[in-house]
């Protein structure tokens, strides 16, 4: 391998070198600095100029200090059974003081699943959360994100979901992207206290770690997930938190590369890039495993039209949205069911749920939205302006929020149904006439 001392420009993690080295797009390079060696990757390649990104910080490096070695290889990660129970960084290196892991090398970009080899996702993953299991059911092979806001109880919700899921036949892969110290501590203590780690693999990148690592992390995590789902045929769930940090990292690198900015400065390929992550989920015909994803993101300024939640919503199969209002009222989990949606819930749960599943869901949704209208009206013109029916909706809604949405422990599906029907009993006549004869038994 030849070494080249030829750095032309350093811009944050981006290096530009001149001279006709003609490396491959995506090729791995070694950057030899005075006292350390760091890895990098080719981002752009031409007969004259090569653009590299460095995986570690270049702080303190002089142009003349750096020499580049081209490896001829694309970025790979070694997957193996040994990864279970381990904590690694975004590049897949252990950070838990355990031994190094040598596995089967896989290209981390992943390959594109042939659409016709996919199977429509089917099978329920029970999260133990009422408003997910009954109203926005998570289906095996689905990608269902959580849209949160800064300061909301999303980490507590993730913790609950992880605890409940770890009791099922599931391998958990957690990708922490750009974790602030507080989040990092929360996750570490969750691991220590619950014993989740026995059935999980954690990839963690902290806010102080390199930005490039944030871009690589989800790819390494998903490569691992694909190995367990499609080669080892297990049910795998991947939680990526926080996708907003990922997108910001992508923006940072894009602007360093001098690319044209798209919406709000994010690169114009943000949609395609996010899709290349989220689409790495599903079920494949002839394989027993499944790959489910829960990407979690914090919406800047709670704005759902911000490019990150907006584009995510177009790729994923629904979304779970947390509400600041409910959070302030002390309701946990503060899931705002109205804009939340699981696109695959009915198809994916066919034959696996009670007959009144869809009916209950639809009725709760439309009634809860009428409750919200009545509540607003009450605020504006007082309780006296409410009709008899509106008062009924109010009664229903309050019960629903405090008894259905709010929960302090894991709930089984059957329990969720019971509470739902208790709420339905409070509805006015116009709603109750919609109840088909065959479901009247649940009213008693």
């Amino acid at each position: 391998m030849i070494e080249h001392y030829c750095i032309d420009e350093i811009k944050g993690p981006i290096l530009i070198i001149k001279g006709g080295f003609k490396p491959k797009l995506g090729e791995i390079v070694k950057l030899n600095l005075k006292n350390k060696v760091i890895t990098g990757q080719v981002l752009e390649t031409s007969k004259e100029v090569t653009l590299l990104q460095s995986f570690q910080t270049l702080a303190g490096a002089r142009k003349s200090d750096i020499s580049v070695e081209f490896s001829g290889e694309l970025l790979k990660f070694g997957v193996s059974e040994e990864l279970k129970g381990r904590i690694l960084n975004g590049y897949g290196k252990p950070i838990d003081n355990g031994p190094l892991i040598y596995g089967k090398e896989q290209n981390i970009e992943g390959r594109i699943i042939r659409p016709s080899r996919r199977v429509i996702p089917k099978g329920i993953i029970k999260t133990g959360i009422n408003s997910i299991d009954l109203l926005n059911t998570l289906i095996k092979g689905q990608k269902l994100p959580i849209f949160s806001g800064s300061g909301l109880s999303h980490l507590r919700l993730i913790g609950e979901i992880l605890k409940n899921i770890s009791q099922e036949d599931m391998l958990i892969i957690f990708g922490g992207i750009g974790l602030a110290y507080n989040d990092y501590i929360y996750i570490s203590s969750l691991l220590q206290e619950t014993g989740i780690l026995r059935k999980a693999i954690f990839f963690l990148n902290r806010a102080i770690d390199p930005v490039v690592e944030r871009i690589i992390l989800p790819r390494v995590a998903l490569t691992t997930a694909e190995y367990f789902a499609f080669e080892k045929e297990q049910n795998v769930i991947v939680i990526l938190y926080d996708i907003s940090n990922y997108a910001d990292g992508l923006r940072e690198i894009s602007s360093m590369r001098g690319e044209y900015p798209g919406r709000m400065g994010y690169p114009p390929y943000l949609y395609t890039d996010l899709a290349s992550l989220f689409e790495r989920s599903g079920i494949i015909s002839g394989k027993k495993g499944s790959l489910t994803q829960i990407p979690v993101l914090t919406m800047p300024n709670d704005d759902i039209t911000h490019p990150i939640p907006d584009l995510t919503g177009y790729i994923t199969e629904g979304q779970i949205i947390l509400s600041r209002t409910l959070d302030k009222e002390g309701i946990f989990p503060p899931i705002d069911i109205i804009p939340s949606l699981s696109r695959l819930m009915y198809h994916g749960s066919k034959g696996l749920v009670r007959e009144d599943f869809k009916f209950v869901g639809d009725l709760l949704y439309s009634s809860y939205s009428k409750y919200l209208k009545a509540k607003k009206l009450k605020l504006i013109s007082g309780i006296d302006s409410l009709s008899k029916a509106d008062r009924k909706y109010l009664e229903f809604g309050e019960f629903f929020e405090w008894n259905f949405l709010n929960q302090d422990k894991k709930r089984l599906m059957e329990e969720s149904f019971d509470i739902a029907w208790q709420a339905i009993k409070l509805l006015p006549d116009f709603e109750r006439i919609k109840i088909p004869e065959k479901f009247m038994k649940y009213m008693n």
């Binding site: 490396p23 995506g26 798209g262 114009p268 899709a275 629904g318 009206l377």
Partner: protein, 573 residues
């Protein structure tokens, strides 16, 4: 042979090319990746690559083909799944393979060719003329056409027989040479296929959805834009259209959408039986999921519309459904940004509007070159940025669309499907379609009456959101209660209540009649001093709601009965 100068994302700059041509197809690198020249400058050319470019390096070979991107038009497309460059997507491997070596149409498969009895050796044939027929699937025949750009004397005509697509079935002597006519021909996707003339739309594209057929009907040959934010049910609506629109050939373009969604479409459609026929038999799928290479997303739309034109030229009614136009536009944006084009609105290329126009404007009712009637109806969904209609893709589509079915997140949130916002949506075809509806009763009259009521309802709803219902006059309260019923029985239509998922025009008109009758009689009764509770009561409502689960004959019978029955009389009379 040329070579690679630079690789950046889906874009390659080619060097040392031999007189490169705009839109020329090239093969790149060892794997023969599929690329298209999109800019020429100095001695170099910008090439968009329709496959992942990872691993390519400067100096790798580029081979020119001397041809523009063309699709193969012939038997073997129906029931088949292709990607954006018409590469067959069916296969056994789990992951997609890449490269140039493929035929769009199966070369091995034999087809029963029936020569046309109307032509014989020595005839002068024009482009577009039908020379024979193949029964491609159980439901759909496939006419073999003289390619549109060929004209001359028929010097050889093959007999009936079983041939593969490569077989020369006719030879035509043109002014310059003798052309072989095979069972298929190629056509560049960027060039609209010629026709005789365009005609005005007259027949609706029926969807079975009341809110659409009744209030915002589309005509066959029309262009329909369906804008909506995420979760508003765009795909579900498109799905409904695939199921029920009465087209001879359906082309579904999954453009930059989800893999799981695509497989749902593929699996459901391939098993769906509509009016005794398997829907799959008349459907062609073009699929580019969001994680497939971005350049192929830009070509899928044009491959689709060209295939549609080919079936139109056979005298068929074609419906083409593109889900979604926004993903296509974003792919254009991605490429144009990489090229370094100066960006227009929201970073989209300045040619966005003309490209969208180029697609939609290829729809229409035509008299084909052979004198038959054919049509293409184009339906495109638009993924609005944050449900905002000022979105450049929506605006560009609205310029050319004859129908707009706007999906409203506030309706979708409360499970109101189809979530069509009746204030924003429009149809420019109402007058054209009036004649068609006449045979089903007073549609035009009811339509206007409802529009009138909508105006009042909207005003009242604004008012009640501030001061509650109890402050309103009794007849206004009645109108609002009527609106709830009308919403439940007419505007909402669940795809999951099988009996109600699809209603014929006659059922729609009948329901409208019933509702209006109820409204008028109720209003009169109020005037006579009958109380609101008596008119708008639980018993009547539940009778009406029960209609939903009735099938056609029973539905109409019950409606007629209710129309006779609904008479409000003062109790002390």
């Amino acid at each position: 042979m040329g070579d690679i100068y630079k690789v950046s994302g889906p874009l390659v700059i080619g060097d040392n090319l031999d007189r490169p041509m705009l839109n020329e197809i090239v093969k790149i690198g060892k794997k023969n990746l599929f690329g298209e020249i999109i800019r020429i400058f100095q001695n170099k050319a910008m090439i968009q690559v329709y496959e992942p470019t990872e691993g390519l390096k400067p100096g790798d070979n580029i081979t020119q083909t001397g041809e523009m991107f063309q699709v193969e038009l012939g038997p073997g497309m129906l029931k088949n799944v292709f990607d954006g460059i018409q590469r067959p997507l069916e296969g056994n491997s789990i992951f997609l393979e890449h490269g140039f070596l493929f035929h769009s149409l199966d070369r091995e498969k034999k087809w029963d060719f029936q020569p046309s009895k109307k032509i014989k050796k020595g005839d002068i044939l024009k482009g577009g003329e039908i020379i024979g027929m193949i029964q491609e699937t159980n439901t759909t025949d496939h006419k073999i056409l003289v390619p549109p750009d060929i004209k001359g004397e028929l010097v050889f005509f093959e007999k009936q027989g079983s041939y593969n697509v490569d077989k020369v079935v006719a030879r035509i002597k043109t002014r310059t040479k003798i052309e072989d006519i095979k069972l298929y021909h190629k056509w560049p996707v960027r060039v609209p296929r010629p026709y005789n003339l365009k005609t005005r739309p007259e027949i609706p594209l029926r969807t079975g959805l009341r809110v659409i057929d009744f209030f915002f009907p589309a005509a066959q040959g029309g262009t329909i834009a369906i804008p909506g934010g995420f979760g508003t049910g765009k795909t579900q609506l498109i799905f409904n259209l695939i199921k029920w629109s009465d087209a001879d050939v359906l082309i579904y373009i999954g453009c930059g959408e989800r893999g799981n969604e695509v497989i749902t479409v593929l699996e459901e459609i391939s098993h769906l039986v509509i009016k005794g026929e398997l829907l799959d038999e008349r459907t062609i799928y073009i699929i580019n999921t969001s994680n497939m290479p971005v350049a192929a997303r830009t070509s899928g739309i044009f491959s689709g519309i060209t295939i549609a034109e080919y079936f139109r030229d056979q005298g068929k009614k074609v419906a083409i459904l593109a889900d979604s136009i926004t993903r296509w536009a974003e792919a254009m944006r991605e490429i144009s940004n990489r090229i370094g084009d100066f960006p227009g609105e929201e970073g989209y290329p300045t040619y966005l509007s003309s490209e969208i126009g180029n697609f939609f404007e290829r729809a229409g009712n035509v008299v084909t070159l052979s004198g038959n009637k054919g049509s293409i109806t184009t339906i495109g969904s638009i993924s609005l940025y944050g449900s905002d209609f000022s979105d450049p893709v929506a605006q560009a589509s609205m310029k050319v669309a004859s129908c707009l079915w706007a999906l409203d997140p506030n309706l979708a949130y409360v499970r109101h499907y189809p979530a069509i916002n009746r204030n924003v949506s429009y149809s420019k075809h109402i007058l054209f379609l009036r004649k068609y509806w006449e045979k089903y009763g007073n549609w035009y009259e009811y339509y206007h009456e409802f529009l009138n009521l909508f105006g009042k309802i909207d005003e009242l709803e604004k008012l009640t959101s501030v001061m509650g219902k109890d402050m309103l006059a009794e007849d206004d309260q009645f109108l609002l209660e009527f609106n709830e019923l009308f919403t439940e029985l007419f505007l909402k239509q669940s795809a999951l209540v099988i009996e109600d998922a699809h209603r014929d025009p006659i059922e729609q008109v009948k329901m409208a009649e019933l509702l209006l009758t109820y409204y008028h009689r109720g209003k009169d009764a109020l005037k006579k001093g009958i109380s609101l509770e008596e008119i708008s009561n639980k018993e009547i409502h539940s009778k009406l709601i029960k209609l939903k689960t009735l099938r056609k004959n029973k539905y109409i019978e019950q409606i007629d009965e209710l129309i006779n029955e609904l008479i409000f009389v003062k109790k002390n009379d």
